[in-house]
Amino acid sequence: MSTSISDSELLEQFRNPLTKEKAYTAIIRKYQEKLYWHIRRMVIEHDDANDVLQNVLIRVWKGLENFREDSQLYTWLYRVATNECLTYLEQQKKRSSVSLSDVGTGLENKIKADKHFDANKVEWKLQLAIQQLPEKQRVVFGLRYYDEMPYEEMSRVLETSEGALKASYHHAVKKIEDYMLNH
């Protein structure tokens, strides 16, 4: 089955017991990298991203049958992934008994612990800058900057108004720029 099949077709095949597994496999192959990197940007480490991604895909298997198609499939997938990320980070916070303000410090340490980390390279400095942002603002920045997601779609993913998202993104860009100029 080709991954160029439209989302509506994939959904139809998923609802058919005979083609359910094939459709599921196709959906995974179509969106796995987008979802993975969206998650990886939030949790940093591959093992954590893999755990979260698998949780997301299980949720997709269980919930896709009831998907009402009032939004794009990938919008729904991104929403599930974002919620799983935020839940995961919240659990990490409780497990390690760190305050909300220290979560960023923990992720910063994970970035620096990466065996390929190079503080002199712009792309690593950018990742450090992004971790200074609050969690939701990090999500907004990632969706807009890396995935170039329209604000209209983003508002459905994050269930936030477009105006608030634009303001959040603009502030995020300013903060990141200041960080990169001063570090």
């Binding site: 299980i58 990466d114 390929h116 390279k121 990141i176 720029e177």
Partner: protein, 264 residues
């Protein structure tokens, strides 16, 4: 008149303390803030109206707009190739029956018979209900709680009262001094209660010789002569004997001395 002067005048008319305060702004503004403000706001407006994310970023931050978007993180080789198969396996396992699960985990265990080798006495289950019915009716044992014994409570109250009383007597009796065992302390303690004037009155009274002389001196001369006349026929040894017999316990010395003084 400027607005500031109007406000000051108003405050003075209201007799407010604010009229005397210096009008200074305590807040600071970053250097060069107003120089770039117009350009920043214009770029912001253009970003809001931008058609694409790339164009938007170009207005917001030319630096970020020109930077590479490649993420520096690595992914294990072949991760995405096997992801869909591994997820299907996970999904299938979640939908399995217990028999299917056991077969996937351990075909050996799956092939074993599930028959339990233990035996049960004949008629066990048939008689079980009846056995439980007869053994479950047990006479209720009387439960006697510690708190239901009244004598215990009264005894506890008596002990507590006794302890409090003992403590009170000990505390109050600390100041008492026994005169038979510690006479000096007793005298000292009681003397403190007597006023200085009383002591001064008493001190002269304890001078016995002086007291006797004063007593004698206070007797009228005629009276002394009368006594001499009465006693002139009485032998001296009889007088001495009488004096010895009637010796007073209260003031033996003064009476004897006074009598001798009269006799002479």
């Amino acid at each position: 008149m400027t607005a500031q002067n109007n406000i000051l005048q108003e405050l003075k008319e209201l007799e407010s303390n604010l009229a005397g305060l210096a009008m200074s702004n305590p807040y600071q503004v970053p250097a060069g803030y107003f120089d770039d403000l117009a350009v920043q706001v214009l770029n912001r407006i253009k970003a809001l109206e931008a058609a694409t994310a790339t164009e938007e970023l170009g207005y917001l931050s030319p630096m970020l707009g020109s930077a590479s978007k490649q993420l520096p993180y690595q992914v294990p080789a072949g991760y995405f190739d096997g992801l869909s198969e591994s997820m299907m396996k996970v999904v299938r396992e979640s939908n399995q029956t217990s028999a299917e699960e056991l077969e996937s985990l351990s075909p050996l265990l799956s092939g074993l018979k599930k028959q339990v080798p233990f035996t049960v006495p004949q008629g066990y289950f048939e008689n079980l209900a009846a056995d439980i019915a007869t053994t479950s009716i047990k006479p209720e044992t009387k439960v006697v709680t510690l708190s239901s014994r009244k004598w215990f409570r009264y005894a506890a109250a008596a002990v507590v009262t006794g302890v409090i009383a003992m403590a009170g007597f000990t505390f109050l009796g600390k100041d008492k001094v026994d005169p038979s065992t510690d006479s000096h302390a007793w005298v000292e303690k009681n003397v403190k209660k007597v006023s200085t004037e009383k002591i001064e009155e008493f001190v002269p009274l304890t001078d016995e010789e002086k007291t006797i002389k004063e007593s004698i001196a206070s007797i009228p001369a005629g009276k002394i002569q009368n006594v001499k006349e009465l006693m002139k026929d009485v032998p001296e040894n009889e007088i001495e004997s009488l004096l010895n017999d009637t010796e007073s316990l209260d003031n033996p010395y003064t009476e004897t001395a006074a009598d001798e003084a009269v006799m002479n």
